[in-house]
Symmetry: C2
Subunit: 110 residues, 2 copies
C-alpha cells in the first residue's frame, strides 16, 4: 500500500495546458486531480457533463460560472461545490497554479 | 449551485474528538472530510473497512501504519494513498490540526 503521490506536486507539468490525473478510476467513480496554470474555458463555451461532479480547489483560486447566474463564483483554496449532472458551467479564470480535486460519480443524466 | 463549504474551515470544531463531515453520500460513494486534532487510533486497535478508501492529507501530517509493515508511513500535506477493502491499518499520530479527505467507494470485501 504505497503513498501514491502528492496532490501539490507540480514538477514536470506542462504549464501550457491543464493536467488531468486520474487517481481512482472505477466503473462508477473517477477521482481526478486537475492542475491549471491560468487556463479557462474558451470564450463562449460551456462545460456540461453527464455525471455529477464534486469539485474542490485545493490550492490557488478560480472563477466558476454557472449558466443562468449573473456572476461567477470565486473559489478559494478549500472551497468545494457540487455540480449536478448536465448543469452547464464554465471556468472563467484560474490562478497560476490552481490544483483542483474532482470526484465524478453516479449515473448519467437522462 | 452553492459553494458548499471550505475544507480548511475549522471554526467551531470540537478539538477533543475527530470530526467527520460527509460531503457527498450516495449508495456507492461517500466523500468525507475528517479533521484530527492530534487523535490517533487507540493503542492495540486496527481500522478495517469493508470498502476501498482513497484518502489524502490536505493539511497537517499523520503517521499511517498498515498491518504487516515494519514502520508507519509519514503522510504530509498532499500525500494520498489507496487503502484496499479489509486492509488493516491504524493512524499512529496526527498533527494538530490535520485535515483529511477520504473517498469511500466500491463493493464491500467478501
Amino acid at each position: 500500500m504505497e503513498v501514491l503521490g502528492n496532490l501539490f506536486g507540480l514538477q514536470g507539468l506542462d504549464r501550457e495546458a491543464e493536467t488531468f490525473d486520474a487517481l481512482v478510476a472505477t466503473q462508477g467513480l473517477r477521482v481526478e486531480r486537475i492542475v491549471s496554470f491560468g487556463q479557462a474555458t474558451p470564450e463562449g463555451e460551456w462545460l456540461e457533463q453527464a455525471r455529477a461532479e464534486w469539485v474542490a480547489v485545493l490550492q490557488g483560486a478560480a472563477l466558476l460560472r454557472f449558466a443562468g447566474e449573473e456572476a461567477p463564483r470565486r473559489m478559494e483554496a478549500g472551497d468545494h461545490v457540487l455540480i449536478a449532472p448536465a448543469r452547464r458551467h464554465r471556468v472563467e479564470w484560474t490562478a497560476t497554479p490552481t490544483v483542483w480535486l474532482a470526484v465524478h460519480f453516479g449515473a448519467s443524466a437522462p
